[in-house]
Amino acid sequence: MWRPCGTFDDTYEKDISIVRTPAQWSITVAGLAVLAVLPLFASGYFMTTVNLIAISIISAQGLGILTGLTGQISLGQGAFMGVGAYTLMMLMNYLGFSFWLALPCAMVSAGIIGLIFGLPSLRIKGFYLAMATLSAQFIIPWVITNVRPDLTGGTSTINIQYPSLFGLDLSKQSSMYYVIIFFTIAILYLTRNLARSKIGRAFVAIRDNDLAAEIMGLEVFRYKLLSFTICSMYAGLAGSLWVLWVGAVNVDSFTLHESIWFLGMIIVGGLGSIPGVCFGVIFIRVLELFVQQISPPIAALFPDAIGAAIKSGLSPFTFGLVILLFLIYEPRGLAHRWEIVKHFYRRWPFSY
């Protein structure tokens, strides 16, 4: 673990703590305080976006463990979110579970399904494995729409009853925010600890060289499956919170497009870095909104025909272009840039 010079760990507690220096403590406390009071100031629009980002961070952290730490590519994260979402909806609507009871069940069911689709990792890796998980993205929505449409609603949307917590009605974005952000922080903490535990080190060993890992006595296949399970449990949690966020569940929300972009978020953020994944999610989600906002005013500057063309095409064009340029100039992701900025501040004014 790296730290600024002059900081020494003189006890074991200090050595294993996540928040180390007084500066980190103050930043953490201030950050949590800002997060706690945010809904009092922010608009519904802002809260809606924050909630979506927080949910996406949970799902992306799961993929971060699988792809960033363990080195397995998955293109089924969206589908696993769908498993969680539909499990939650069906438990709540048909078996009368409360949201809080259905949530862990949804995580477990998503974890099991993820485990099944992780089985091919026994024999394959790389892009062949990505294709195996891609099949999840086709098989799971097919099951949702066709097997029991009377329960899942087929292709149409099913609403859920908004849960409440200690008398607090969670139907508003500003109130459900506390639930979502609680889980997000918990997941970040969990991931951080997982990454530096025995399991996390095993994951990294498998990513770096699976043969060497096996020779050192790791049960590679077991750890790979564990990684798949954790990844899809995160997805299940994210899917359940997604249901809370929308207030309804529809199979259209968990498309291949979403799954591929989860992969995109962690790559833009920087593989294997926890803050990197968060940056990646925020970057892509905000960019998504931003490009939608800029195209009408820019289109208004042009005459009719060109303006109409710009209005329809500028958003995806800008989105693609920004990410492309970003990748070309910062191929190692936002996490790398973040390190550079941190170093700049530590050494300021003695830059090099």
Binding site: L38, F41, A42, S43, G44, Y45, F46, M47, T48, T49, L52, T145, G154, T155, S156, T157, N159, S171, Q173, W245, V246, G247, A248, N250, D252, S253, E288, L289, Q292, P296, D304, A305, A308, S312, G313, S315, P316, Y345, W348
Partner: protein, 409 residues
């Protein structure tokens, strides 16, 4: 840039982001906000896309020719959710948080509309949604563009039965897209209605948007030997169906709902010859119609292309004119200071046989029925939509059979 500068910028960004103020409707507002939030460039674009220019042109018409609503100009906010309900939800949150908040939301995208159904009730605004049952019922704040998709098909079934000469029952096969819009016609009420009308549904096939060959599906349909094939499709869907039928040499006739409008037919007019389309509006090809003339004058004025000349362009008009009518009436009754959603809703529910633009469309909503029953049936002749003739096949609006699910009546 120094450290202080960067921190300053970050702090500024933070405050800009969190300071979206909320507000209330003023006594006589400077303008009235309305919103259109739909899939304008995504999978449904070729159908839904023209609704945005349609609404823009209609707003221009209301503001310039009708002088707004009692002098208050309409202001249209268009958002493109590119076919993603999540983005639609964010854009909804953005619009509902703006001042003044839009009183109406036109949402031509079924999944987004379904997700917004409960939210517009809570936020006390009015939604203008597609014609599938989960969008509209139980009765809330949402109103449909046109009749339920099942009712559109039912109008065709009734016409078919009325003009059926043979002794045996007509045999009809259904083939439609395997997604929310395509499946919206497959309600139990529709099948009951077919049974009641003694029309046999002999086959039911679903296909995916990216299936480029439907020979398999059509061979299965051929083995059931139907007289007609009906669909609730648009764009490439009907094209794939008819092309497969033609290749197999099937002598089969095809009927479609509002999806079978000009945008679809223009892809291959010959192929659609003699097909039936059930529409909610007067035909663009009836150029003597005064309302259609008005619409054409705006199409020309704003240099719209041929691709904008579709049913959803007119829906944009219908949306804005409906707002003009109901808000004007509500203001006349209660005044601007007491104008609220309840007052507008009561005007909406009293729209009876309302025919804007000399009857380009015809609308009836009631407290119980939130979709209009008035439809027209057309046959495609030489790429034009003309009345098919026969019983119930005139050039007038016909009232569709009521297929609202029983529990919502």
């Amino acid at each position: 840039m120094g450290r202080k500068g960067m921190i300053g910028i970050l702090v500024c960004c933070f405050f800009v982001l969190i300071s979206f103020p909320a507000g209330v409707l003023a006594e006589k507002p400077a303008s009235l906000s309305i919103a259109l939030l739909g899939d304008l460039t995504g999978p449904y674009a070729s159908v839904v896309g023209p609704m945005a220019p349609g609404a823009e042109d209609a707003v221009q018409y209301v503001n310039e020719e009708l002088g707004g609503i009692d002098g208050v100009k309409l202001k249209l906010h268009v958002r493109d959710c590119t076919g993603k309900a999540a983005l639609g939800l964010q854009q909804y949150a953005e619009l509902i948080g703006s001042t003044p908040k839009p009183l109406f939301f036109g949402v031509p995208h079924t999944p987004t509309a379904e997700a917004l159904r409960e939210k517009i009730i809570r936020d006390d605004v009015i939604g203008f949604f597609p014609g599938s049952v989960p969008d509209l019922y139980p009765q809330g704040n949402s109103y449909s563009f046109y009749a339920l998709y099942a009712e559109q098909s039912a109008v065709f079934i009734r016409w078919l039965r009325a003009n059926w000469k043979e002794k045996r029952n007509p045999r009809v096969a259904i083939i439609t897209w395997d997604q929310a819009y395509g499946r919206a016609m497959l309600t139990p009420e529709f099948f009951d209605y077919c049974k009641k009308m003694k029309v046999d549904i002999v086959a039911q096939e679903l296909f995916g948007v990216r299936d480029l060959d439907l020979t398999t599906h059509m061979v299965r349909i051929r083995s059931k030997n139907p007289d007609w094939v009906i669909a609730n499709n648009t764009g490439s869907g009907p094209l794939a169906i008819l092309r497969a039928a033609k290749e197999l040499g099937m002598k089969i006739k095809f009927a479609n709902n509002v999806g079978g409008d000009w945008g679809t037919i223009r892809l291959d007019p010959e192929l659609f010859e003699d097909s039936i389309s059930v529409m909610h509006m007067a035909s663009f090809d009836n150029t003597d119609h005064p309302g259609i003339k008005k619409v054409f004058s705006y199409l020309k004025k704003n240099k719209r292309g041929i691709k904008e000349q579709t049913a959803f362009y007119v829906l944009g008009w219908q949306y804005v004119l409906m707002i003009h009518k109901t808000v004007s009436d509500a203001v006349a009754k209660v005044g601007w200071d007491k104008l609220n959603t309840a007052a507008i809703k009561s005007e909406m529910n009293n729209l009876t046989n309302w025919e804007p633009l000399d009857g380009v469309v015809k609308i009836t909503y009631t407290d119980k029925v939130r979709h209009s029953h008035w439809l027209r049936i057309y046959k495609i002749k030489g790429g034009k939509l003309v009345p098919p003739g026969g019983k119930l096949g005139g050039s007038e609006f016909v009232e569709a059979p009521d297929l609202t699910p029983l529990k919502f009546r």
